[in-house]
Subunit: 456 residues, 2 copies
Amino acid sequence: MHFASSATSLVGTLRDRRQKLAKLVNFPVVLWSGATISRNFAANTFPFRASSHFLYFAGLPLENAAIRLEDGKLQLFMDDAPDSSTLWHGETAKREEVAEIIGADVAYPLTGLKFNVYKSATIPVQNIVTREWQSKLLQRKASLEGIDFKLAKAIAQLRLTHDDAAIEELKKAAAVTVKAHKAGMTATKNAKSEAEVRAAMEQVIIANNMSCAYSSIVTVRGEVLHNNHYDNLLQPGDLLLADVGAETSTGWAADVTRTWAVSGKFSSTQQDIYDVVLAAHDACIAKICPSVEYQDIHLLAATIIAQGLVDLGILRGIPEDLVAMDAHALFFPHGVGHLLGLDVHDMEDLGDIAGYEEGRTRSDRFGLCYLRLNRPLRAKMLVTIEPGFYQVPAVLNNPDTRAKYQDVVKWEQLAKFADVRGIRIEDDVLVTENGSEVLTEALPTSEDAIANLVNE
Amino acid sequence: MHFASSATSLVGTLRDRRQKLAKLVNFPVVLWSGATISRNFAANTFPFRASSHFLYFAGLPLENAAIRLEDGKLQLFMDDAPDSSTLWHGETAKREEVAEIIGADVAYPLTGLKFNVYKSATIPVQNIVTREWQSKLLQRKASLEGIDFKLAKAIAQLRLTHDDAAIEELKKAAAVTVKAHKAGMTATKNAKSEAEVRAAMEQVIIANNMSCAYSSIVTVRGEVLHNNHYDNLLQPGDLLLADVGAETSTGWAADVTRTWAVSGKFSSTQQDIYDVVLAAHDACIAKICPSVEYQDIHLLAATIIAQGLVDLGILRGIPEDLVAMDAHALFFPHGVGHLLGLDVHDMEDLGDIAGYEEGRTRSDRFGLCYLRLNRPLRAKMLVTIEPGFYQVPAVLNNPDTRAKYQDVVKWEQLAKFADVRGIRIEDDVLVTENGSEVLTEALPTSEDAIANLVNE
C-alpha cells in the first residue's frame, strides 16, 4: 500500500466530510470501493480505480473494501491480503494499519459487512461484480432510488463544493496537467504523428505518478469531439487539439484543452476563429463568481461566438437572436463546461443530480441539451470553461440543418475557413468568494505564448 | 475506424485461420468481441480491449461485435453507429465496409445473432455484461464445458503456433518494446523515481500508437514479482527491474524484462548474481528447438541458478539435488516463462488448456507449481525465457522454510548479497525449425552494453 497523503490531515478531512454527511442523512451509509477488472484474462487487469464516492469518504484507493458511515462514525471493512500474495504483490498494509491511517473507529473483515448493511443506503459502483454484491447484501437493487436517491442528493451537496484537502489535490492535478500540455506543445515541432504528441504529454503524467483522468484527445481532427485515435500524421497547416488531464493517486482530476498550430503559426482564418473562441473563454471566466447561473455563462459563450462569427461574415443576424435559434450550436454543439472533482465530469454517475439544480431538467434545445451543469455557482465549486468551434460534417451537411439555417449561415464565407476543423480552449476554474481562480492559469492561451513553446 | 493492416493479407490470413478451425470442429462457433467497461462513470471508460479469440479470427478490435464461423465461412454481426454518435466519435466504418476488410461472407445487425447461435460453441469473454449476453443467447452458461471445451482445445491448438501475419505483428510489438527499454535505460541517469523511468518507457509505446500489453513493472523492489507501484526514489546502489511490453493495435504482445544498475555500474555482489541469471537465460535460449520439453528448459534454468549459487557459496550441495528439493525456488520461485501471443500469458483465459499438454496437470512442488507452460516445443511457438533471482522476505524469513533448508542455505553468505533484491532477464523467443529466433535480441543483456545506454 502506498499512501502519499499526510495521515494527520487525512483523518481530519475525512472526519469533517462524514460529520457533514451525518447532518444530511438519518440512515446508515455503506459505500463500496469496487474491484479490479480483467482485461484479456483474469490476471491481466485494468489499473484499479476506486469508486469516487468511496474515495471521498475513505481517502484511499483500497481494492475490495467497504466503509460504513453513521452519525459521523467510520467503520472499515476489508480483508488482509493472504500470505500467498506476498510473493507477487509484496507486503501490503493490514486492515488495522489502514484503519489508523484513515481514522476508522473500528475495522472488520469483509465477512462482517453482511451484519452491518441493514437499512443502509448506498451508491451503485461501476464495477458490475461489486454491484451484484451490493444488491445481494442489501437484498435489493442498488439503483439510486429510495434512500439511495436521498444519499445521492446528500453526497452531491457535499461534493459540489471542495474542501481544502480536495483543492490541494486538484491543484496538484492541474499543475501536472499544465506541464503535460507544455510538453505536448514543445514536442510538436519534431513529432510526426498525433501519437507522438500524446506520448510527450502522458509521459509527464506518468512521470509524476499520476494517471490520465480520461482517455486523452490529441488530434488534428478536433471536430470529432471524443476522438480517441492517434494515428493521423501532422501536416504543417493542421491545428492540433489536445484535451488531456491528470488524476492524482487519490482520484482528483484536471481537464484541460489547448489548440495550437502544428507549424507554430496560425493561418489568418485559424487566427480569426481562435480569437473568437478565446474571447468567449476569457469572458466566461471573467463572469464567474458566486450566485451567477452557469447556464448564463454558457449562453455568454454562445453569444460571443455568434457575435464573432457575425463579425467574420460566417453568420448573419443579431447574436442574441442567433443564440435563441441555436445557430451558434452549429459550430459550438456542446456545453461550456461541467463540474470537476473526483470525476472529470464530477458525479456524472448520479445522472443530473449533481449537475442540475433541484427542479431543473435538461433542455430539448440543440443548443442547450448537452449542458452538463445548470446551477447557480457557489464558492469552492470547480468548473471547466471550454468553449469551442467545430466544423462537424454530420452537423453542417445535414440537409434539414442547412434548410433551417439557410438564411443565417453564409456557406460560401464559411468555406473559406475550411482549415479550422476544431478549436477548443479549456481551463479549470475554482469559484472563489468574490470571483474565481484559474487552477490551470500557468498554461498560456495566447497564440504567441503557445508558439514560443512550439518553437522552443 | 482506423485499420493499419493491409486488407488483402488480412482477408487471406483470416480465411486460413478459420479453414484450419473448420478441420478441428464440427459445430458452428460464435465469438464475441466484448464491450468497453466503465471506469468511474459510464462515459469514462477504460480503453477497449477486444477478446483475443475474437481478434484472432476477426482481425480487428471491433466493439460490441460477434462473428460466426462454420465450415470456413465468416459471418459478421455488428450494428452501424447511430447518426447521433458522429458528433462525438466521428464517422466510423459501416458494417458492410468492415465485412469487406475482414473478408466476411455476409454481415448482419446484432439482432440477427439470436437466430444464428443455435448449437454453437463459444469462449466466454472477460467482459461480464457481454458474458451474460452470451449465456442469454446460447441459453446456457458459457463456461468452457461441453462443446465450448472442445472449441477451446481447437483454438488452443491453432494459436499455439503463429502464422506469418501473427509473427509480423509480434515482431512489431517486440521492436517497439526494445526501443522502450532502451529509452528507460537512457532515462535512468537523470530520473529521480521509478515513475520517471516508467514514463520514458511507456512514452515510446504510446508514441508508436501501441498500448501496454500489461501493467508495467518498473521498480527498485524487484523482489515483489508483480509490483505495480512506481513511487520509490532511485538510489545509487539500487537495481532497477523493468518488465514492460507493447501490444499492437490488433492485440499482439511483447513481454520483456531487463535489470540494470541505477548508477550504471553493478556492485560486485550484484554482478555475481546477474551473471548467474544471465547464464541461465542464455543456456535456456540455446536449448530451445522443436520437441524439447519446456519443463526441461525450466529445470535447466533452475539447475544453472542452483549451480551459480553454490559457486557463490550461497547454497551448499549438488545442483541437481538442490533442484530436486526445490532449493532453487527459494530464489527463483516462478516458472521460466510462458506462451506469448495475443495475450501476454497467451490463452491464460483457457486455464491450462493451452499451457499444458493434454493429460498433464500442474505440479504440487513449490519449484514447479508456477510453471505456466508444460509442453514439447514446436516450431512457430513463441515463448518467454525469464529466469530470475529474488530475495523475498516472506519466503526467506518463513520459519518453516528456514528449518527445511537449514542445511543447504548458507544464510551468513546470503546476507552479503543484501543489495540484490530482484533480478530478471526476459526475452521473447520464437521456436524455429532448427532452433530459435530471439525477437527481442536487439536489446542487450550484457552489463557493459546496458551501462553504455544508462551512461549515454
